[in-house]
Amino acid sequence: MTETKTPATPETPKTPTATTERGLIPLPANAARALTLIGGAATAASAFLAWTWTAEFPGDLTVYGYPGGLQWLTFTGGILIVLFALAGYGVRGLRWLTPAGNNAPLALTALGALGTTWFTVIAIAAKLGGLVNLEPGGYIAAIASLLPVIGAFALPEPTGDTTKETLRHYTAKAEKIPAATPTTPWQQRLIITAVTIVGLITFTYGIDTAYGELFIGYLILVVFAVWALHTAGLLDRFSHLVTGNRSFTLAMGFLAAIAFPFTQTDDHYANIGVNILIFGTVALGLNIVVGLAGLLDLGYVAFLGVGAYTAALVSGSEFSTISGVQFPFWASALTGAAASLIFGVLIGAPTLRLRGDYLAIVTLGFGEIFRIAVNNMDGDSGPDITNGPNGIPSIPDLDFFGFNFGESHDIAGFTIGRFANYYLLMVLVMAIVVLVYTRAADSRIGRSWIAIREDETAATAMGINGFNVKLIAFALGASLAGLAGTVSAHVTYSVVPNPYQFAGSTPPNSAFLLAAVVLGGMGTVAGPLLGAALLYLLPEKLVFLQDKSLLAFGIALILLMRFRPEGIIANRRRQLEFHETGQLDVPDTETLADEPAVTKAGA
């Protein structure tokens, strides 16, 4: 324990002294702080003005006294600035917002509010054709949102040699986050519940955004707000809270997922929800293969296809080539998963002897073989199994004991539509997949997957049968994708070969699945789900990108890999792999309570 205390703070800027630190913008510190507070309030207030004269711009920003559409985002941004500014003043009850007392969260929220507001103003001018379309309120909002940014960057911070370095100080995470005041288990659960609710509201808002501009504004604000929370150290504190209450958090997460359709009035958004879930579930299955076992599989979507086609064939559809067969759902789900498992083993057995790049190329080939084979099994160029490019349409809706998934149901005053029904079923499937993932990862088999990923030669020298273990990962991943496929066949009414390709502009396809895993964070549960949600929502909301969406993704992925290679939600291992931070991996012995020591004492 003695060696663990090596301090990771080289410069320790504990108490800011005005002599060595000054703001980037020359202003007295008091004025700067006041400016952030006033600017934040002004930004929030400006949302109540009319920004444009016509309702042609979506969201109706023409009303004085009531924010609409994008103005709500500016309003939220302003409120966040005010909160962080007050926390900076040390107002009792808000100090927990910035435990380390750094200014980065304030600067980042100010930038976020500036981003959304200016984006809105520019979007109005661009869409309606000129600045003349702005009402005075628009100008006021633009100027008001600039004030907190000026204020935040006038706050004293240690100056670096270059402006770039100084700027980094303004957006850097606090170096040492003081331990949270001890909380009782009930308080902890209360906090987790509150965070879950806020998360659900935020997420629901994102899905429900009715037009592309609103979604972009939302993304800007959310990205900066989350970044701000990260620099404040609140995310670290929360994740520590989560590790102490893992099962409770998981339960809350699922409750929130179940609650989602009840917050929706339009079944269209439940449709988006169910598609995100299908996409996310498959991405989580791929995460076993890529994130844990380290096998780069570029044809993974084929297993989703196998599951979907199997379910379609036994669904009782009149176009199914196996006529007259109608399995109950549990049976077709099992058949779909089993069929995918068999395909996984068939494809895996010859290919898993290859390593690295070779495996990627071969799986890419097999993925394409699946699609082309399905395209050709139409009775002309091959046996008549899949009806070729026409696919298998009119797949009947599921029916559980008289509960027809195709109809709307009223549950406790809420109307649950068709897609909401499937959404709830998909939540169940996802729960199974999450359970399988977490349990498999934390076991002898999971450790051997990670060992294989880390160093295959050493792993086999430790007695791990590399081929067997990889095949299990491959087959397990395949069957989970197949399971999700069986539901997706029913959700979409029909299965056709086209979506099961390597790359396309809409998810799911193998490239998007892999991107979801990498973007979200390999080796985590929440990462691929978040990645899948983002990758599904972006093309769905940003319709104007059309065929350029792939290009946009390429750029986004490159940027992400440059600045955060471990993904949005970082696995502890990955984080350390990409950022050499010395002793950071040392279990938090002093700042936070340590449970490992207890188990150690027992061992």
Binding site: I445, S448, A451, T457, A461, M462, G463, D585, A603
Partner: protein, 284 residues
């Protein structure tokens, strides 16, 4: 004589036209520490890889306690031969404890289903594995670093951890490939003690080493490989005084003045580093 733990018969390894190991016969008996020396490129590591199944020998067989080993690394480990690597091959992004737990792989059998269902058997096995791993970590003195990532350990501790990981597979024979490479004299001496402690657990040890003091101190028998062939095998004295070994590998006479001077220098440096109070051990 005791029964042989490891018996290699006429092991030959050819890579195309190059014969890296030529018809080597070799035995390791229970409770023995055997050293394998030889100049660089003599085929020592290749021979190791043949023993552990990483390479399939072109000719010859390797048997462990009387049964011929299949040339598959994981089966060799399962049979009871564990190894470390010349350039450390830990699972860098796993914790110290996890590394050792991976070493337990062959001695546990909980599969995927057991992991998914999490019955009482699974929990018992995980607990037992962890206890055994912690014992090993205590044995090598890394128990306090169980939750560190392997990559963040200092070099000497990484070497130790690799040995612990190998020991976790409960081997009857431990193969160490240059266990003291890159170590300072103190660490080398600690490793010496560790190897003796391992031998005292009833595990035979076969080691490749370039540190002659280390090898000749430690080994009951030493074999010298030169150009893929076993030149000589015997006790430390026999090998040290063998003219062919001197010519091919040791170079200057081992008991000559420069060597002794050097050894004395090292001993003095060590004594100095060990600080004043402990003056018992450095008389030799």
């Amino acid at each position: 004589m005791t029964t042989p733990v490891l018996e290699a018969r006429a092991v030959t390894m050819r890579f195309g036209g190059l014969t890296a190991v030529r018809s080597v016969d070799f035995t390791v008996n229970t409770g023995e520490i055997v050293g394998l020396i030889g100049p660089n490129g003599a085929g020592k590591t290749t021979f190791f890889n043949c023993l552990t199944g990483l390479y399939v020998p072109t000719e010859g067989t390797v048997s462990y306690k009387g049964t011929v080993l299949p040339p598959k690394p994981h089966l060799v480990t399962k049979a009871g031969i564990a190894r470390t690597f010349q350039n450390i091959r830990l699972f860098a992004n796993m914790t110290v404890l996890e590394n050792v737990l991976v070493g337990r792989h062959t001695r546990t059998k909980e599969g995927l289903w057991s992991a998914l269902l999490r019955g009482p058997g699974f929990k018992k096995a995980e607990k037992a594995s962890e206890e055994r791993a912690m014992e090993l970590l205590e044995f090598i003195g890394l128990a306090h670093k169980r939750d560190h990532l392997a990559r963040n350990l200092p070099y000497g501790e990484q070497r130790k951890l690799e040995i612990a990981r190998a020991l976790a597979s409960e081997p009857g024979l431990l193969l160490l490939d240059e266990p003291t490479a890159g170590m300072n004299p103190q660490e080398t001496r600690a490793t010496e003690e560790l190897v003796f402690a391992i031998r005292d657990k009833g595990i035979a040890v076969l080691l490749i080493e370039h540190d002659m003091r280390f090898v000749f101190n430690l080994s009951d028998r030493v074999a010298c490989l030169v150009q893929g062939e076993k030149l000589v095998e015997g006790t430390s004295e026999v090998v040290q005084s063998d003219e062919r070994v001197i010519a091919a590998y040791l170079g200057t006479p081992f008991e000559g003045a420069p060597g002794e001077e050097e050894a004395a220098e090292v001993a003095a440096a060590e004594a100095h580093a060990e600080a004043a109070p402990s003056t018992k051990g450095d008389t030799q």
